[in-house]
Amino acid sequence: MAKTGTYAGILIMWTYIARNILQRIVTLIIVSIVAHSFVHLAPGEPSEVDPSNPRMKPADIELIRAAFHLDDPLYLQYGYWMRDLFTGELKSFKDNQPVLPKIWQRFLNSLPLLICATLIIWSLSFPTGIYAAIRRGSVYDRTTTFTAYALISIPGFFLSYIMILWVVNTFNVPVIGMKTFGMEDADLAFRSMDRLWHLVLPSALSAVGGIAVLSRYVRSQMLEVIGQDYVRTARAKGLSEDNVIYRHALQNALLPFVTMFGFLLPALIGGSVIFEQIFAWPGLGRLGYEAILARDFPVILTINLIAAVLTLAGTLVSDLLYAVVDPRIRLQ
């Protein structure tokens, strides 16, 4: 970014941003075309989901196909999809509800899960990883290493079932769904506790993989920095060990993690299908799964597009954040 503050520096930054946004828009258009043609060319159509239904006559199927534009050429269907998406009139094939509000509502349901999981991941993996790096080779280091590998090696639903059994038997609380049904008249304190209990297990379990991966990453990053010359210099100066670790090493080790803020949102869609399915959580991942089962093309494609937008925005944000925190990086 050369010298921020000067006119030239700001100009360089903005041209960089503008060019990147432009590139990403092109990528996005390609993604949408690829996704659209793939979903439409693959066998299986919304009109064929229920072939054994005796009330479904060939005439009805004709009607459905016409209503969904399924007989038009692909590029026209793509056009219809884009037009409806941007005018906000895109309707689901399954229940004829508008797609965008539907996705928005599910997104709001997934959000608390994502926030809790992220908080758990970040607050646990940093201390774990840093401590393991400082005590490299100790019992603690080896135990956490092994635990981390064990945690990423368990099938998610296997662990979830075991945890559900344990939590329900030990604490005697319901954990499936977002809240207990029939509790609408209970007082506020009770309802909030109920919501909270329902949130604990799914967010903890979806955090498990993240904790394992991130704590390993923090550890290796920290080890990398501790081996650097300037840390040795700091020690040689006679600084206290705390000062060396927390002032000199840690600050530099944390740099790459700033970029991870950019990847929080895309995680919402990919990773949540299994856990939302297990816990009957009416979130975005589950909406996608239901849409796939029903061959609900508009919903599948729109979720996919949103995921792509979030991923691209995430990489842009992380590039920029990295340039802000690390003066060695120059935008070209």
Binding site: I30, P155, G270
Partner: protein
């Protein structure tokens, strides 16, 4: 790429120091470092045993049927592990080996031990074939992009084209993409292998491209070019073997995640369909009987855990042993 750090230039000084003690070959050095990592050795032993088991399983469940995974014995439903077959109700040719159900029986009275054996071969082959596909695509595209990156194709270079395509693929949420494809295509074990492979090559392509970009400038490649070797030979004999280290590591870990992905697909009902037994679908069938027949759930669950753990630990051990930067510490 869009960013550069000033640190990227390697100091030539350090390389000369590292090359001083040439007492052991690369393989010896690799083995010496790997041997010290007890977890990786544990992983390697488990994988060795598993490989032999899987091959033995293929032989004994399909070619010379000793363990029969598909015989239905309704009188012997839900027998716990180590129980005897009921001799009076089951015809002698349907009885398991030694008349004992080692891992019990499932809801149709099938021998879980035989099914787990059959599943070990199927699960492993899903992992290996999926990773084989992804590594092949990754090396091809990464290699093209790294070696022929500057060749112009109309208005863009080969490198731009391939890397933009990689970016496009990275935009899809992987598991959601796999789920969509598997759900839309007709259910078949080959589709699952192909889909997992085709959606997971992006990391490999990036590694290989980066390795090729740095290898292309190194002296031995320049020398090979100066000798007038054909490009095919330069690429496959000189560059690919030198770029294999990170690929090998990510392939090992890739097999682990392919096995996990298959079990997750089974859980959602899109996994490998009968008559093939995989550990994933034994586990996901078993979840319905977690109270009545816990062995149907816990045996495949722990089997997957141990095997995936072994792949991960071995992969990490490989990474440490193959990484020259960590080696010098």
């Amino acid at each position: 790429m869009t960013m550069n750090t000033q640190q990227s230039a390697m100091s030539p000084h350090r390389e000369t120091i590292a090359e001083l003690p040439p007492h052991e070959t690369q393989v010896q050095e690799f083995w010496r470092i790997l041997k010290k990592d007890r977890l990786a050795i544990f992983g390697m032993i488990v994988l060795g045993v598993l490989l032999m088991l899987a091959i033995a399983a293929k032989v004994t469940t399909e070619w010379v049927v000793i363990f029969d995974p598909s015989t239905v014995r309704l009188p012997d439903k839900f027998l716990p592990p180590m129980s005897d077959a009921s001799t009076d109700l089951i015809p002698s040719e349907d009885r398991p080996v030694f008349g004992i159900y080692l891992f019990g029986t499932d809801e149709l009275g099938r021998d879980v031990f035989a099914r787990m054996l059959q599943g070990s071969f199927v699960s492993l082959s899903i992992g290996f074939i999926a990773v084989g596909i992804s590594v092949a695509i990754g090396i091809l595209l990464g290699g093209l992009s790294g070696y022929y990156g500057n060749v112009k194709l109309g208005f863009m270079t080969v490198d731009t084209l391939i890397m933009r395509f990689t970016d496009v693929m990275l935009c899809f949420p992987t598991f959601f993409l796999i789920l969509t494809v598997v759900a839309l295509l007709p259910p078949s074990i080959y589709n699952i292998m192909i889909v997992i492979g085709v959606t997971s090559w992006m990391g490999t392509a990036r590694f290989v491209r980066a390795e090729f970009l740095s290898l292309r400038e190194q002296d031995f490649v320049v020398a090979a070019k100066a000798l007038g070797l054909p490009e095919r030979r330069i690429i496959f004999r000189h560059m690919v073997p030198n770029a294999m280290a990170p690929v090998l590591v990510s392939a090992t870990i890739g097999v682990a995640s392919a096995i996990l992905t298959e079990s997750a697909l089974s859980f959602l009902g899109f996994g490998v369909q009968p008559p093939f037994a995989t550990w994933g679908n034994i586990l996901s069938d078993g979840k319905g009987f977690i109270f009545d027949a816990p062995w149907l759930f816990f045996i495949p669950g722990f089997a997957i855990l141990i095997v995936v753990l072994a792949f991960n630990l071995f992969g990490e051990g490989l990474r440490e042993a193959l990484n020259p930067k960590l080696r010098r510490r």
